[in-house]
Amino acid sequence: MKIVVTVKQVPDPNSTQALESDNTLARDKEVVLDPGDECGIEEGLQLKEAHGGEVVLVSMGPERARDAIRKGLSMGADRGILITDEKLAGADALLTGRALAAAIKAESPDLVICATESYDGSTGMVPPILAELLGLPQLTFAKKVEVNGTNLKVNRQTADGYMVVEAAMPALITVTAAIAEPRYASLKGIMAARSKEVKQVSLQDLGVDGGGPAETIESVASAETRKAGSIIEDDGNAVDQIVKVLADAKVI
């Protein structure tokens, strides 16, 4: 089976984040492969190991997003496609979806794997947009995936448990961090990744029109912050103080 995994380079979740003057995310910070995407790649690799086929990584971003693809290739993915274009700077979810859909359509995969949402944007809107544009059913928030011939079955996370959802492939799934523990790239994998193909394409190559932005950021303000209250060291009396706060709040 042919599997496409979408991947994104994001500011390192462990570093301080900042905005550029035009209110897009500052990407000159340390950047990494989105940790959620690592789980998606891992799931793709496990499915390939069980059923055979190929894992293709598709990313959209500036040239250096090639590093994120390279990381996935060193985990064991077969090849990558990088969509890079000046017109994509600050692209919204719809344009991102259009660009990714065009690149993925050309691959005609059996399965598309996305993370439920990116670490930096957290809007979670690209996967359903992508599913619609590709004309695929979407099985979202998957924490377990089973493939049997062309039948796909997932355990989909819900607020109080999960539901079992089934569809015929081709299909798109989004996966949570619970899906699989990502493997570390071996030295051999890192060496092998150097010779794997990463094809770079532009919007023109894909036949996608940039268009105007669907949303505009008008302003960015610091959110209201709560004031700190009192901080005490526990010298044995902390419990009494907590009980007092609970009583004042009328919960006991």
Partner: protein, 321 residues
Amino acid sequence: MAKVCVYAELSEGKLNSAVTEIMAKARELGDVSVVALGTGAKEAGATLGKHGAKVAYVKEDKVFDDYLAEPATDVMHALQQQDAYDLILFSFTSDSRDIAGRLAARLGTGLISNASDISAEGGSFVAKVPYFGGAKLASMKANGKPAIVLVRPKSFEASETGGSADVKDAPGSVGDGSKRAHILERVTEASEKVKLEDARVVISGGRGMGGPDNFPLLEDLASALGGAVGASRAVVDAGWVPYSMQVGQTGKSVRPGVYIAVGISGAMQHTVGMKTSKVIIAINKDAEAPIMKIADLGVVGDALKIVPALTAAVKAKKGKS
């Protein structure tokens, strides 16, 4: 008046509480129609009439209970063709997210996700979206029509206005082509006595709890206080507790009377889901942890000692009264 449509998410026949919250804002922004699909749709329509919906489009068909996203997208798309709404609101919850994304792509319009507020400004809509886990608030203007906005749960307080909705049959038909992602079974894992989102008191644990074996300490405190137990993303990702307990940006949003954060550093990912709690108590070994900066009472100490002692003290006090 602007024409506003609210998608009324139902789960196993029950209206998602995020929908009545959204109604409190939607009715300020224009004339509101709601769309309720599947088992329980008529009852939900009647409920939402009391929350200010003028029209309730309903369809009680099992197809909406049994298949993800696509059947509902078909109806929402047909309704937009019929009524040409200026604004369509969804809650930022799993099922609604799936539908909103597909609808936006089908209409070729953009959408604003994860909003915490929305206002009408000069004929268009501007949504406030928390960034960086809530440290920044961006004002985003929707340039297309309809504007599609997904609203974070607990952004508004639900209140009844006492009206009633004109209940109509929802337009559109669902073809076999949309019956693809088939729900075979629903499994309940959480044996929550008190629902996390509705609890008066929430006690959440993080890495500072040391391991999953210590979470029963929080359960004991929660049962003494009649509250519910939550968790940080770090411990959910580590597999200590199920996702259903996660509070934060990618988990649940809560707004209890008292929130007790135990061994949670307070990364913005977490605080965006709990910082509107009325009172916040933090117990942490690190006096410099970010959670201390938003806590009404910060206790620096060993959670594994303090929590059981607190449980005993609460029980003793309750026993007296």
